[in-house]
């Protein structure tokens, strides 16, 4: 077992290093600005005094590496500095919205993961039938559509025509869970459609890959009933790829959530990021990017660790 923890720890270390490099990238990207942050934000209306005052306020006179480490240590403690536009603390602007985004992603994941795995296994068993072909075309269409296309179709049919769900997912503090789930159903459904399609295709490929292996052939030849072949023989080995697929798609959710939040005017961190980008509010942009990147790296890490834990062969790298 010591071998196993070592392997997992090594993987975690790699993830940490990647995160560190990404944080360097995010911080120093802003240094690429022609001039500096103060000039860029104040723009045309800048006088020398205002620029100097802003530089002073942001501490731009100190060297960049020093400011990087200050920013990084602040970020680790949840302090991302002050918004350039509103003067609000970035951490306060982000916290509530981040919880909203996590809620939306979790809602979508809870619906999508069981559905996708079930359907993926189903199409793998029924491969090359009409059902499989139709599913193939439908999932491909769903993957190829931009998130806003699916979102607006759902709004048109389920919100405007059928009036079953609200088109705009506005949240207030005192809503019951049921009402919350009803309000956020359409954005969650949009995410579910995209992610389920991805997951279904990947699960199908993983299962088909597995069913082609000789020991499954053997089980079939000795007369094991089909359900038993799947449950007893195929599934234990299929967990590794399935866990991988799930983690990768949760990571994918993170990007998809930005467009979906904008379509449904959902008060999440993606919407905040897009607003901050158009206003050029760099501390918020940096903080949001760091959070998104960290979540993404974390989920990819989970995929790797999950694969190591469920597949003993990966524990002995050649």
């Amino acid at each position: 077992m010591g071998d196993l923890t070592g392997l997992v720890l090594k993987r975690l270390g790699f993830g940490l290093i990647t995160l560190l490099v990404v944080s360097v990238l995010i911080f120093f990207a802003v240094e690429l600005l022609p001039g500096d942050v103060a000039e860029a934000v104040l723009g045309q209306g800048a006088t020398e005094e205002t620029v100097a005052a802003m530089r002073d306020q942001l501490g731009l006179d100190r060297p960049a590496p020093v400011r990087y480490f200050e920013w990084l240590f602040g970020a680790i403690q949840g302090d991302f500095g002050v918004s350039l536009i509103s003067g609000e603390r970035v951490s306060e602007a982000i916290t509530g919205r981040f919880i909203n985004t996590l809620f939306l992603a979790a809602y979508a994941a809870v619906l999508a993961v069981p559905l996708a795995i079930f359907l993926g296994i189903l199409v793998a068993l029924l491969r090359n039938t009409l059902f499989d072909r139709v599913a193939n075309v439908l999932t491909l269409t769903s993957i190829s559509s931009p998130e806003f296309f699916l979102g607006y179709i759902l709004i048109l049919y389920l919100a405007v025509k059928a009036k079953a769900f609200p088109a705009i997912a506005s949240l207030t503090g005192d809503m019951s869970l049921l009402e919350l789930l009803h309000r956020t159903f359409l954005p969650a459904l949009t995410l579910v459609l995209v992610v389920t399609a991805h997951m279904m295709r990947m699960t199908r490929a993983a299962i088909i890959n597995l069913l082609a292996s000789p020991y499954i052939e053997m089980a079939r030849l000795k007369g094991t009933p089909p359900w038993k072949v799947i449950v007893h023989h195929a599934l234990p080995n299929a967990w590794a790829p399935i866990i991988n697929v799930v983690a990768l798609n949760l990571a994918y959710l993170i990007t998809g959530v930005v467009l979906v939040e904008v379509v449904f005017v959902y008060p999440g961190i993606g919407q905040l990021l897009v607003d901050a980008v158009s206003k050029r509010d760099f501390p918020i942009v940096q903080a949001c990017c760091l959070i998104f990147a960290a979540t993404f790296i974390l989920l990819n890490l989970a995929a790797d660790v999950g694969a190591i834990l469920t597949n003993p062969r990966l524990r002995h790298p050649k």
Partner: protein, 354 residues
């Protein structure tokens, strides 16, 4: 029971009987399951729902017909070798090629096809469709149909440019990394890891917030974001080729790195790379459309599908489908490219799922 409903079931049942009689099992199963589903849908939704099904099936049949005809057309105009390949193309791939062909025509000849200019204001805001404006006017009174046609040139053109750039950068780096190996390979590989560890949309937003949104910046940023994918594929494919004996022989002959890349490796790596180009185009196209939708991509008044969706989004709440049309145009092209890529991958890998 109206005449339409009677006719509807008569046609379905007759068609399924015919299919069963001719021994076409999968066609029979398809049509007969449709009949059974129609019973259910008809009871719940009434004749209106059956009409919708009829229209959908009609559209599907039309698409299948066009794809079949277009495949025959391609087979007839191409040379014997290409024709043999094309004959094996499934209908979905033929449909994809037809859509790509149509978009190419619309994009190249946009100036002649579009009845009005892309930024020309010709009526009041949100004017309904008439003989002059096929799809009505947008929020400033510009013709939506003309902007859609120009969008084929602007949006697709930009995505194509970014894809080509990403491809050139990624493929060059990948090939050189495979040939040179050593520290160059290591540095490029780690660089690709870092870029791929940030979600692409987030990375694009970060760079655009810093560098501003003009076309050159968008193209370069998007190309940089997606080049690691090409790099990894090229590196893997070329890595398998580099260990071959004929590469060794060429090296012993004293050929330079560029000769190896151009004359020995590239010709053997084209099949997977063409398929990758298609996939890459889909990713780039969706990213650029997403950025435009967020108002951070192609800037007005240039016609562009992503921003057209955003500008007309308010119409959705009145039950108008105008904003869905450019979004559907994006989806249709991506689906079409994916269909073609699917077929190419299947053909080049020779993978036969049992």
């Amino acid at each position: 029971m109206s005449l339409f409903v009677t006719g509807y079931y008569a046609v379905l049942i007759a068609a399924s009987c015919l299919a069963a009689y001719l021994g076409k099992r999968s066609i029979f199963m398809g049509i007969f399951s449709l009949t059974l589903i129609s019973f259910l849908v008809g009871i719940i939704g009434g004749a209106g729902a059956l009409r919708t099904i009829t229209i959908l099936v009609g559209i599907l049949a039309l698409a299948a017909g066009i794809s079949y005809a277009f495949r025959e057309f391609l087979v007839n105009i191409s040379g014997p070798n290409l024709a043999r390949e094309l004959r094996t193309a499934p209908l979905t791939a033929a449909f994809g090629m037809f859509v790509i062909f149509t978009y190419a025509i619309a994009g190249i000849f946009a100036g002649w096809i579009a009845p009005h200019g892309e930024a020309e204001v010709i009526s009041s805001a949100f004017a309904p469709a008439d003989a002059n404006m096929l799809l009505g006017a947008d929020q400033l009174g510009r013709d939506v149909f003309s902007r859609l046609i120009y969008g084929a040139r602007n949006t697709v053109g930009l995505a194509l440019l970014a894809t080509v750039l990403a491809f050139v950068m990624g493929a060059m780096a990948g090939l050189l990394a495979a040939v040179k190996g050593g520290w160059f390979d290591q540095i490029m590989g780690r660089l690709a890891d870092v870029i791929m560890s940030i979600p692409s949309l987030i990375f694009a937003l970060l760079m655009l917030s810093i560098l501003g949104t003009n076309l050159a910046v968008i193209v370069i940023v998007v190309a940089v974001i997606y080049s690691p994918r090409v790099f990894r594929l090229t590196r893997a494919v070329a890595g398998n080729i580099v260990v071959m004996d004929y590469i060794e022989a060429a090296k012993l002959r004293g050929e330079g790195d560029m000769y190896l890349v151009r004359r020995e490796i590239l010709p053997n790596a084209t099949a997977p790379m063409i398929a990758e180009f298609g996939l890459e185009f889909c990713f780039v196209f969706l990213l650029i459309a997403g950025l435009s939708f967020l108002g951070l991509g192609i800037q007005p008044p240039t016609a562009d599908w992503g921003s057209m969706v955003r500008e007309n989004a308010t119409l959705i709440s009145f039950g108008d489908i105008t904003p869905l049309i450019p979004a559907a145009a994006i989806a249709l092209l991506t689906v079409a490219v994916n269909f073609v890529v699917d077929w190419m991958l299947f053909r080049s890998s020779g993978l036969k799922e049992q």
